[in-house]
């Protein structure tokens, strides 16, 4: 028995020793250590972010920044736990729609008095509005995404279809007509992966002014009006009436339909503009692709939901954290981050740098041309949105797109779900 007890004690000691050796040395005197939780994921962006942090640490010996990697698919869970547990990083990388809830719960610092004038002036007011929660700016916008048509130009040219330009973008009617024309010989005009349909549908609804959430008598209500209905029925009709969207791809993710697009089974695909990086890395040699400007309904508006850098309310070094944010998001650095992810920089000066330094000039020009059309979508700043999206909207949209429920049933599910979650 003594032997057993001794063995046990040795084991516990071994655990404690092993783990204690893993604790990194934290601080030296007169050095402010900042932790920076970031979910950058694409290798190109990871490289850019590491380079930015390294260059900061070299030039600012008194303020050292340490990256805390966050899994891109668990950002909310990770941040929530660390906020509640009082162990949040000083600087937090997230997105506007997600920080709304954290701001309401008081986990994020008010950046308004901290943001340098130069940084404030770099980013358009329309983008700042998205991270402004009742005169409290909770995040500095970094970069944004749009949903664009990507086309196999060889197929389009063979069919005699001319590509749209920034000056003459396609309307939805033109896009629909091209998709129908290109649906021949068992091939489809469009492959559209709508496994996560909510963000796509809601963003594109702004093309017809559909805001989904409206303020009525001091309460945010959810309405499926003309703008929202037009978006929904257009997509649904393309799948089931026009038969120009491959129904087999609708339940897949955006990247899962790329093999069919590369194989010429469909002439076009609608994707987040960041998929351009996938096109470069994965498309077959000689594959002639292009990304078109955003489609036009009544307008080309799309929702601005930028990635953001925020400062935790628990941070003891808010001023230093803002110094780093201002450095990380100067035009040159923002351009480097955006180029890696193929996302649109929040600052037009950074956008100019990206466009002038890329091989894919045409597609980048089309991407950047979307900046004036970024509009604040009401849902982005609403606290209950994240839960409604996950629990109500996504399953309901999936059912509608699979033709399992009609528009009336979808509407009642969405509205009832919102009312129940909003309380």
């Amino acid at each position: 028995m003594r032997k057993t007890l001794g063995l046990g004690a040795a084991l516990v000691l071994a655990v404690a020793l092993l783990a204690s050796t893993a604790q990194a040395g934290k601080s030296k005197q007169n050095v402010t250590n900042l932790t920076f939780a970031t979910y950058v994921w694409q290798p190109t962006t990871v490289k850019a972010m590491n380079a930015i942090v390294d260059s900061w640490n070299k030039s600012h010996a008194g303020i050292q920044v340490h990256i805390v990697p966050v899994d891109v698919n668990s950002v909310h869970d990770k941040l929530l736990t660390s906020f509640v547990g009082g162990a949040a990083a000083d600087i937090v990388h997230d997105e506007a729609a997600d920080i709304a809830g954290f701001t309401q719960q008081g986990y994020l610092a008010n950046l308004s008095p901290l943001i340098p004038k130069a940084l404030k002036a770099e980013i358009p007011q329309s983008v700042w509005n998205v991270t402004n929660f009742g005169h409290k700016i909770a995040g500095v916008p970094i970069m944004l995404q749009t949903y664009n048509v990507f086309a196999n130009m060889t197929i389009l040219k063979a069919a005699g279809i001319k590509a749209p330009t920034v000056a003459r973008p396609w309307t939805w009617t033109q896009f629909r007509s091209a998709a129908k024309k290109l649906s021949t010989n068992g091939n489809y005009g469009v492959c559209w992966g709508l496994k996560s349909p909510t963000a796509t549908i809601q963003t594109l609804s702004l093309n017809w002014g559909g805001q989904w959430n409206y303020l009525e008598k001091g309460k945010w209500v959810l309405k499926v009006g003309q703008g929202e209905r037009t978006t929904l029925t257009t997509i649904h009709d393309m799948i089931y009436s026009d038969k120009s969207v491959d129904p087999a791809g609708v339940g897949l993710s955006g990247s899962a339909v790329l093999p069919a697009f590369f194989a010429g089974k469909c002439a076009m695909t609608i994707q987040g503009n960041y998929q351009a990086q996938g096109m470069i890395e994965q498309s077959p040699k000689g594959f002639n692709w292009a990304m078109f400007p955003p489609l036009k309904g009544q307008s080309q508006n799309q929702a601005a939901n930028p990635q953001t850098l925020s400062i935790s309310a628990q941070s003891q070094h808010k001023a230093e954290a803002m110094q780093f944010i201002a450095y990380a998001l100067n035009s040159q650095n923002m351009a480097k981050l955006s180029a890696g992810d193929w996302l649109i920089p929040a600052a037009p000066s950074a956008a100019k740098l990206v466009v002038s330094s890329t091989k894919h000039y045409g597609s980048w020009k089309n991407a950047v041309a979307a900046v004036p059309f970024f509009k604040k979508a009401n849902w982005v700043t609403l606290g209950p949105y994240a839960r409604w999206k996950a629990e109500v909207a996504t399953p309901a949209f999936r059912q509608y797109l699979a033709n399992q429920i009609d528009l009336g049933k979808l509407t009642s599910q969405l509205v009832d779900g919102w009312n129940s979650i909003r309380g």
Partner: protein, 286 residues
């Protein structure tokens, strides 16, 4: 003498069925192997082939040396972290669980019944429900962002199931064997050491292996509790290859996943003879 061809045919059929079943079981691993040797363009072909047309080792280079965005952490570093955590979890869980399981199996009374009921009840709480209380508790103990804290949580998390498994193994050993040894003059400790321990060995190995695999594969607790890049475990590292909205760096992920399965495969190979050894092999001696 006439020899029937029936048994031979039956044996051929059995082996064919076994071979097909083995292929069925091994297919995901074969596919993983195939993907790990394909380039990015071949990975998005509409009609993929099992055998890569252009074999590339770049996925393995990426997996072993590529920048995954976790500081200087490499696959081998994360594998060492996982090994350390899994082995210590396995040892501690078995060490704590073994005596408790013996008492639960051999005593009859209210306390034993309540103990078993509590074990079952504890398995009903979903992890997401208790993650924040666990985090707060570990923070009070200054054990967040450390392997010590992670191991303690893994031990607590796996212990109920380990206890349940072990006590069922103990119950499987006839009480008569202990009584016979005692009639021959053996003390309780001698009985435990010379009769129970050898008979329980396969059960101990199985439960220790279960604890090891649980800790080796666990993702969510490690995700929430660990922050310092150098503490990253394998599942956290593998998750870095999966991006937003279904974008996956499939090649490096397959190469990393394949390398990550090697220690488990090796462990199973070594321990296999323990697993297959008869539970009551000692009872028929003499």
């Amino acid at each position: 003498m006439i020899v029937s061809s029936r048994p031979k045919r039956a044996r051929t059929f059995q082996y064919t069925a076994l071979l097909l079943y083995m292929l069925f079981l091994a297919f995901p691993l074969l596919w993983l192997l195939s993907v790990s040797f394909k380039g990015p363009r071949e990975l998005v072909e509409l009609h993929p082939h099992l055998i890569p047309r252009e074999v590339t080792l770049s996925n393995y280079t990426d997996a072993l040396h590529g920048d995954i965005g976790i500081g200087d952490v490499t696959l081998l570093h994360a594998a060492w972290n996982s090994t350390k955590v899994a082995i210590l979890t396995s040892l501690l869980t078995t060490f704590v669980g073994l005596p408790a399981a013996y008492v639960l199996a051999r005593t009859r009374g209210l306390l034993s019944r309540l103990g078993l009921g509590w074990i079952l009840l504890s398995q009903m709480f979903p992890l997401i429900l208790i993650i924040i209380p666990i985090f707060l508790l570990l923070r009070t103990l200054h054990l967040t962002d450390s392997h010590t804290g992670l191991i303690f949580v893994y031990v607590v998390w796996t212990l109920p199931f380990i206890l349940w498994m072990l006590q069922s193994y103990v119950r499987g050993i006839p009480r008569d064997l202990e009584e016979a040894a005692m009639v021959d003059g053996a003390s309780r400790i001698t009985v435990l050491r010379t009769v129970i321990a050898p008979l329980l060995a396969p059960g101990i190995v199985v439960t220790a292996l279960f604890a090891f695999i649980t800790a080796w594969n666990e993702f969510f607790l490690a995700l929430v509790l660990l922050q310092t890049p150098s503490l990253t475990t394998l599942p956290l590292l593998l998750a870095r290859f999966v991006g937003v909205e279904g974008i996956v760096r499939l090649g490096p992920l397959a190469a990393s996943a394949l390398l990550a399965t090697l220690p488990s495969l090796l462990l199973f190979t070594i321990i296999q003879r323990w697993l297959t050894r008869g539970l009551l092999s000692g009872a028929v001696k003499g």
